[in-house]
């Protein structure tokens, strides 16, 4: 059944305004969660949520790209499109995770890094680059989960994980299908056609080895049962954390290097 859903339909599901966001999952997955703010340089970017949480006795550092659930929230969250300070906040908490030996869980859900004047002035490219570099040898396990739209370097900037998971209807790509069509064919209206070509579905990415696991969505759409979706994610987070913690740190980091080295 599910294989009949086209790539473009997945894009549309991934973008549904009532699709569960990072905070919806965080609330459901973790027993405790305390959100903490700011990059310590410029300001707090609300399009990335960071904090510390726990499941049972296991503590985690949590980083999630956060879209709004309505117009007001979306304006506050900049439609889930981070500025450099968002990525720097994420890095600040990932480095803390290393200090306190907490695994990192990231939730990817963005149309991309924000293309604005201020973002360029404050080094959007540098911020993303630094995250990629620092994540590549962070000395704690990293599990990244693409929950909605994972688009461009803005998604990858929190996506250099030992394990990269993807929800069944999530999409992950170099650029939005609109942007892709606009660059390759100078025609953004051919987005649907682009989506089919781009190999952006969970299944495609699993085949390409970009993604390690695809998580099935309850009733074919996560929004029908956030609780159940969260339970599925929680189960995998716990199992994978245990698996990754079983490796010594040197091996963990070397395996991560090899994983991305091979792509």
């Amino acid at each position: 059944m599910t294989s009949k859903i086209s790539a473009w339909e997945r894009v549309k599901i991934a973008r549904e305004p009532d699709r569960p966001t990072a905070l919806d999952y965080i609330d459901n997955i973790f027993d405790e969660f305390i959100e903490l703010h700011g990059d310590r340089y410029f300001r707090d970017d609300k399009s990335i949520v960071c904090g510390i949480g726990s499941i049972g006795k296991q503590n985690f550092t949590i980083v999630g790209e956060q879209k709004g659930r309505n117009t007001k929230e979306n304006i506050e969250r900049n439609f889930g499109m981070p500025n450099p300070e968002g990525y720097r906040k994420a890095l600040r908490f990932m480095k803390q995770a290393e200090k306190f030996n907490r695994p990192v869980i990231t939730f990817i859900d963005t149309k991309g890094a924000y293309p604005g004047l201020g973002a360029e002035e404050r080094g959007q490219g540098e911020a993303i680059a630094r995250n990629l570099m620092e994540m590549s040898d962070l000395k704690v396990p990293i599990i990244a989960i693409v929950i909605g739209e994972g688009s461009s370097g803005g998604a990858l900037a929190i996506g250099v994980g030992d394990k990269v998971l993807m929800l069944e209807n999530a999409v992950y790509s170099i650029l939005s299908p609109e942007g892709y069509a606009s660059i390759l064919w100078k025609d953004s209206s051919r987005a649907k056609e682009a989506a089919e070509k781009m190999k952006l579905t969970a299944k495609d990415l699993l085949d390409l080895g970009v993604v390690d696991e695809v998580l099935k969505e309850p009733n074919g759409n996560a929004k029908t049962d956030v609780g159940k979706m969260s339970q599925i994610m929680k189960k995998r987070i716990l199992a994978l954390t245990k698996e990754l913690q079983g490796l010594n740190i040197g091996d963990l980091v070397e395996e991560r290097y090899k994983k991305f080295r091979g792509m």
């Binding site: 293309p115 993303i128 680059a129 630094r130 790509s173 970009v210």
Partner: protein, 288 residues
């Protein structure tokens, strides 16, 4: 007759220039070329003797990787890495493969970056030079692989790395695989950091997107050529997003210097000596 011919050539080049609009490509065909900045018609030999810098206004024309290596690396010392990289076509696009073949034929390049070992005033370095004549220097799997290989080779040989960046960003035709090259190359830079080798990144016109958001921004030292356009998002996208015109000088090397993302803007004529000086100032640190 001769004058007529020259006139025709000029018209041809001017036309060529117009077609390319803002693209300041490395010297179109013919003996004459028009500077895209000051519109002066220049005799190509003069331009080349002047490091492909407009003698009239100082505009730095885009350079092919071959010319760049000639300008930076001591004569006869450049040895290109022998990498038999098969092209990658993860999205299975037919016209992409054809385009690559045609470009290889036309440019004599195998891909958008040339990598190897060479000397700068007898100082040995690993050098990678991106070439905007090949798919606008975009980074697909082969480019990512060559950069990563070069960095790993530098670690192995205890050599500094210099990368001349010139790229429109990640290569769209290879989709997500191109995106992953950002992680791959950045991870390699981190290995280089841990090994203690010097990495100098030189930003040239244009450096954008996935290249800016990976190795280009990660140099211990980041130099830039005057007037080069450098950024993450392209100006057109930003303009569309914010709905207003972009300020004068936005995303130029000088803009990046002002905002603290570039260490030094260096005229091409002084590039080799500047690199040499930096290499000497780092000596003793990297070789233990």
């Amino acid at each position: 007759m001769v004058i007529d011919k020259i006139k025709k050539r000029i018209e041809y080049d001017v036309e060529n220039d117009n077609q390319e609009k803002e693209h300041r490509s490395d010297i179109p065909v013919g003996m004459w070329v028009k500077c895209s900045k000051c519109k002066e018609i220049l005799y190509k030999d003069d331009l080349h003797k002047n490091y492909s810098i407009c003698p009239n206004c100082g505009n730095h024309f885009r350079l092919s990787s071959r010319r760049r290596i000639d300008q930076i690396i001591d004569k006869f010392t450049f040895e290109e890495f022998d990498l038999s990289n098969e092209s990658s076509n993860p999205l299975g696009m037919n016209d992409y493969v054809k385009k690559l073949d045609a470009l290889r034929e036309k440019t004599g390049l195998d891909e958008a970056v040339k990598c190897g070992i060479g000397n700068i005033n007898s100082e040995k370095v690993v050098i990678c030079v991106m070439d905007s004549n090949f798919m606008m220097g975009s980074m697909g799997k082969v480019v990512g692989e060559k950069i990563t290989y070069s960095i790993e080779k530098a670690i192995q040989l205890h050599l500094p790395v210099i990368i001349f960046c010139a790229s429109g960003g990640a290569r769209m035709q290879e989709g997500i695989v191109s995106l992953m090259q950002m992680a791959k190359t950045s991870a390699a830079v981190q290995k280089l950091n841990k090994a203690g080798n010097l990495y100098i990144s030189v930003l040239t016109d244009p450096t954008y997107g996935g290249v800016t958001a990976s190795f280009a921004s990660l140099g211990d030292i980041i130099l830039a050529e005057p007037g080069a356009m450098v950024g993450f998002a392209g100006p057109r996208v930003i303009k569309q997003t914010i709905g207003e015109d972009l300020p004068e000088g936005f995303q130029t090397s000088e803009f990046l210097l002002e905002h603290g993302f570039v260490d030094k803007v260096v005229n091409r004529k002084e590039m080799k000596e500047t690199l040499y000086k930096l290499l000497l100032l780092h000596k003793g640190g990297e070789s233990r």
